[in-house]
Amino acid sequence: MPVLRADEIGQVRMDYESMQAAGTLLGSGGVIVMDDSTCMVKAAWNIARFFAHESCGQCTPCREGCHWMEKIFWRIENGQGRNGDLDLVLNISGNITGNTICPFGDAAAWPAAAFIKKYREEFEAHVAQQRCVLS
């Protein structure tokens, strides 16, 4: 599910409509809270790795796209990010969304795109400095 920034949480209530209005989804109701000691690139990679690992593999976009996104996040976190990686992930995410057999593909695509959109400066710093800027 798309991540919410600290300055976005505000008065968002933990119900379906409020979460949807805030641009994310309630999902199963599980909540992960991260503070600024967490690298957003590493978090994005961690989540992408989960989805790549759990993808059933039946349909083309999710089977191939999820692991592709994980590989790109891994490189960015490990100082091998390239110009164009961020827009590439956004594009891959868009190519998966809506084109899969089940919502797993969407569930994998949304956070990948949301992390980049909400924390773009952190991702760009990783690429520009060719290292994880938090460590």
């Binding site: 993808s55 593999g57 349909c59 083309t60 976009p61 692991h67 590989k71 190519n95 084109n99 899969t100």
Partner: protein
Amino acid sequence: MSRSRGACFRERIEMDPVKLTIDGQEVATVKGKTVIQAAADAGIAIPHYCYHPKLAIAGNCRMCLVEIEKMPRLQIACNTPAIEGMVVKSQSPKVLEARRAVMEFLLINHPLDCPICDQAGECRLQDYYMEHDLKTSRFEERKEHDRKREIFGPYVVFDGERCIKCTRCVRFLQEVTQTEELSVVNRGDHSTIALFPDRILDNPLSVNVVDICPVGALTDRDFRFKVRAWYLKDTPSICPGCSTGCNITIGSYQNRIARFKPRINEEVNSHWICDEGRYCFHPLTEVERLTTPLIRQEGGLVPTDWETALQAALSGLGVAAPVAGVLSGRNTNEEAFLFARLMRKIFSGASVEVFYQERELTEVEKILKSPDRAPNFRGAREMGVSSDGGFASLLQQLVEGKFHGAYIVGEDLLPLPNGKKIRSALEKLSFLVVQDTHLTSTARLAHVVLPATNFAEKEGTYTNRKGRVQKLNAALVPPAGTLQDWEIFARLQGEAGEKISYLTPEQIFQAISHEIPRYRGLSYLRIGDPGVQLSDET
């Protein structure tokens, strides 16, 4: 063929008409058809990998995504029923972008095997890339790897890296042969196709998975690396393996057969061919060909010219009554027609029959095969090559020494179960003429040997077990020195003083359509590629 399971249930149960619009074109179809089927019937091709008209819908490749008005996301055309008033767009920007995206996803882990992959030239990845993509890959990571050149069975080899997990092979083995040798194992982009433990892919229809694999993941071991598909000359013909008469395309190069591929005919073999039929061209064409007639002199067979050979055959058999005539089940109706008339006119009291042996078939074999190796036994009999008691009786009479002469065409009788008795009977004949493509063990006993042609060099017709008349076309040019079987029969009749003036097999078929009541009104034009089913009334 017996009904295959799976997608057969998708056949129209109702005939309610449905009208929809595809790409601005009004398409008329019936209730029960999916968008991809309605489009195909209207001549609109929607690209796809996992969909196959004879298999259950999988819907996993996502290549057939189309835009449908009033539906929020793109929908797969293969599993969306055609509804009255539906408006479908298969060329909108969203659809074209989705296709490009699916192509990119399929290609990111695909190996750069084209230069060494047999599928090149007939590969859906290649074809759809040229038609729907043409963008440079943006994948600059390490590709996932998988097992390469894994032997699945005696005729099928698997390449896991080329596989796009469409599951056509899995579904074919579940639904058509019901032998279930393969399944998908692992998960995510480590998904792959694998044999179940302790199984090999060796059912009698196994190589059909190679035909249906859209890429080079499953390939034919027999055809491997032989010739590039685009060099092949493709000739539509009929399989000479048995009397089912599966429709085939003969792929030949430099006057040799490289492979058979099945040709779609829903009335006969659907999309399939059995392994034995697929490869039967090997024993039938890869022999050392006879290129001159042979005549027996001082105990040995020596080359001679046609005139000498034909006259010797006529005079030899002429004083060897009663004469037996055995025609091969692989001879055409045209040849059988001439053979029957030749034997009856020239050798009165001759008994003629077409070679016919039955055998047991397994359940999987019964999906396609007939229990014989005589593709035209029915046609030959209908042309007049038949006697009371059938072939078994004629063979029995031969063994009992009832005949003094014999004219055996296109079959080697010695490998039969009672071969020893047949051999001594043949040796006791006062005259034996054998006509074949190569010097068989039967031919070695002959007084005259006549070099003829094989099925791939013939134009003519076969009538299959169920009474369907189908056309063979010549894919190969016969070797110099041989004559077509029909030409030999015509010349023999000419040498005997009854000149007949056919110039082509088509002219013989015209005579058949006049003289044989069941074949009235038929012509090569009417038979075409699909063939014609004879009706049951005489």
